[in-house]
Every structure is written in C-alpha cells, then in structure tokens.
C-alpha cells in the first residue's frame, strides 16, 4: 500500500454515465470517514472482460495504462465498479508476477511514454470501508440505525471469485454482510446468494440474463427480505431496472427495492438522499425508507 486513506479514484464508464447517485453518495460519505479520493485524470476504460475476449494484449495494455497513471499519482486505486476492479486487479497481479508479460506490455506502453512498475494496489469500496475505515468506525458513524430492516446482500461475483484467480484474499460476502450489519440492518441468508445477477449476459443472451435475475429475485422474496443491498453497479442495474424487464417478459412483479450500500450508509449517517437520487431507483425506495427521505 502506498498511502493510507487516500486513493486514486477510478470511476470507470458505467457509474458516471448511468449511476450518478452512487458516485455522489461515495463523494459525500467517504471524506466523512476519513478517506480522500483524488480523481484520475485521463484514465481510459478499465478495460472490461469483454475486451479481454476481443484481444488479450489490448486488455492488459489498457488496464496497465490506468495503473501507470495511479503510479504517477503515487496512490493506490479505489474503484466502485466490480468489472473495473477485476480487470485492474488481475492485470496488476499478473504483471507484478510475470516479468515476461510485464516486458511485453511495457513495450506496447513505450509508444505512449508509460512504464508499468508495479508500485500500487487496487481496492474496491468494500476493501476501503472494511479494511481501512473498519467496522467499529462505520458503526460509530451510524446515527440512525436501521433496526428491523431485513435485506439480502449482492456483492457481485467479481468480488467473490476464487483466490486462484485473484491471488489474494478477496472481500466479499462476509465483509459486505458485516458492513450492512454495522448499519443496524439484518443481512439475511438466502438461496442463490452466491449466484451472479445475470448482468454480464446482457446484450449477449438477454433471455438467459433475465432468467438468472428472476431466479435470484424469487429466492430473495422467499427469504422475505425487504430490499437488496449491493456494491456493484451492474448488479444494481440488473436487479433494479431488470425487475421492469421481468415484469414485461414474465408478467411477474417483485417490487423489491435495490440500493447501493453507500446510500444505506449515507442515510444511516443522517444524510438525506436528494429527490433526483431517490428517483434514480426504478423500483421505488420511498416506502422502505419513508422516515429518512
């Protein structure tokens, strides 16, 4: 780790384009918890696993370019997007361990006067909150606990892939559950909790993507949760907007509010969401959080 509690903030593509409420909540909450975020100027797309499928060398070089920018800033990266997290983490780990690949990537990067040196780490929001801030500090920041609120957590599968892929212990279910419980809410165990949201199949096999989300929603309903808490922007879209698609395709309504963990934390800390942020949720959250909005 380069420096505690200060990160190069890698926003990625999806969040600044489609989930501004996620970004705004992070920008409001993290400084309150002692974490400074510095925007990464000139960063490119992470690049996601779809680009890995197109051309492996391009995927590595583009991710490495972002890592070089963070190295120039002298800061570890924090990202909110699970897809960005996986790409940046994997490339960082591969290049730190494989000098042959590192040389190949640096040969590509030499055309843009960059050199990967392997001087920074890549973290996600759960890493920063659980690892840097810590559960006790999160708990003590909660002014209005969510007593009696039953939620299902959805960390997203990029946070929970096996150690053999990421080479290190990953934050995942347990850590997000602990963070949710620090807010006073109950993280309820449900079937298919470890299952993907279906999002990665959007625009590729849409029917299957919807079926996977539907199975997850059925399991969440059976567990009698009142809402879903996620840290992944793709899971958020797939489970929130996805419920409207499921209604159209299957004529089924689940009406299960989906919320980013940071929004839950923000409300628990006594900060209200603005009207446009409440409306950014396709499945209304007003009834669930009526005393706090």
């Amino acid at each position: 780790m380069v420096k505690d509690m200060k990160y190069a903030f890698f926003l990625g593509c999806l969040i600044p384009a489609r989930e501004l409420s996620y970004e705004v909540s992070v920008r409001k909450v993290m400084p309150e918890l002692g974490i400074e975020l510095v925007d990464m100027k000139g960063a490119n797309c992470c690049a996601p696993f779809s680009i890995q499928s197109v051309d492996h060398a391009s995927w590595m070089a583009l991710a490495a370019r972002n890592l070089c920018l963070a190295e120039e800033m002298g800061l570890d990266i924090m990202t909110l997007c699970n897809d960005c997290y996986e790409s940046l983490l994997m490339v960082n780990n591969i290049l730190k361990r494989n000098s042959e690949l590192k040389d190949q990537v640096n040969e590509i990067l030499s055309d843009v006067d960059k050199e990967f040196q392997g001087k920074v780490d890549v973290k996600n929001l759960v890493d920063a909150l659980y690892g840097d801030v810590g559960i006790s500090k999160v708990k003590s920041a909660i002014k209005e606990p969510f007593s009696g609120l039953r939620v299902g957590t959805q960390p997203g599968c990029h946070l929970t892939k096996p150690k053999r892929i990421h080479w290190e212990v990953l934050r995942g279910f347990n850590e997000l559950d602990a963070l949710v419980q620090a807010t006073g809410a109950e993280s309820v165990l449900y079937e298919r909790k470890e299952m993907c949201c279906g999002g990665p199949l959007r625009d590729i096999i849409d029917d299957m993507a919807r079926q996977i989300s539907r199975q997850k929603l059925i399991a969440l309903k059976e567990a009698e949760v009142q809402g879903v808490v996620t840290v992944c922007p793709f899971c958020f879209l797939q489970l929130d907007l996805g419920q409207l698609e499921i209604k159209r395709h299957f004529n089924e309504e689940y009406n299960l509010p989906v919320i980013h963990f940071i929004e839950l934390l923000r409300m628990g800390m006594g900060m209200k969401l603005e009207d446009w942020e409440i409306k950014a949720h396709r499945i209304p959250i007003t009834e669930l959080f009526k005393d706090r909005l």
């Binding site: 926003l11 384009a17 489609r18 970004e23 797309c45 690049a47 499928s53 959007r202 446009w276």
Partner: protein, 74 residues
C-alpha cells in the same frame, strides 16, 4: 479460453454488443458513454467532466496491438 475467443474474433466472430463496446472504446476511451442529460446533471452537481483525455494514447496502444484493425473492419 481467452485465446480461443481472441482467435474467433480474429476470424470475424464477435457478438454485436461486444463489437459496439470495442468500437466505443477506440473512439472515446470508454465502453459506455453518458447521454446528454447525464452530462448536464454532472455539470449541475459540479462533478468532474467526462472527457476524451487520453484518446490519442489509447488509439496508439490499440494500433500497436492490432485491435484498431479489428475495430475498423467491423
């Protein structure tokens, strides 16, 4: 697995959604771009601007790896 997918792409087999992402990445540095209303909202909230800073470097990289050719042939 990725080697096989890369070979398939080189032979012209790329799902339309993935091809669109690759093209957007080459042209803007991003696979997902904001619509006008999101840009306006960002400005009104005082959030950082979404720019194409870095585009020249991204295109140089993709030219060197050969992905530029794949994107342009689609």
């Amino acid at each position: 697995m990725f080697a096989i997918r890369n070979m398939a792409v080189r032979q012209g087999n790329m799902p339309a959604g993935v091809a669109a992402q690759a093209k957007s990445l080459y042209e803007t540095t991003r696979v997902i771009n904001p619509i006008r209303s999101a840009l306006d909202k960002r400005e009104s909230l005082g959030l950082s601007k979404i720019t194409t800073e870095g585009l020249e470097e991204v295109q140089k990289i993709l030219k060197k790896t050969g992905m530029e050719k794949m994107v342009k042939s689609k």
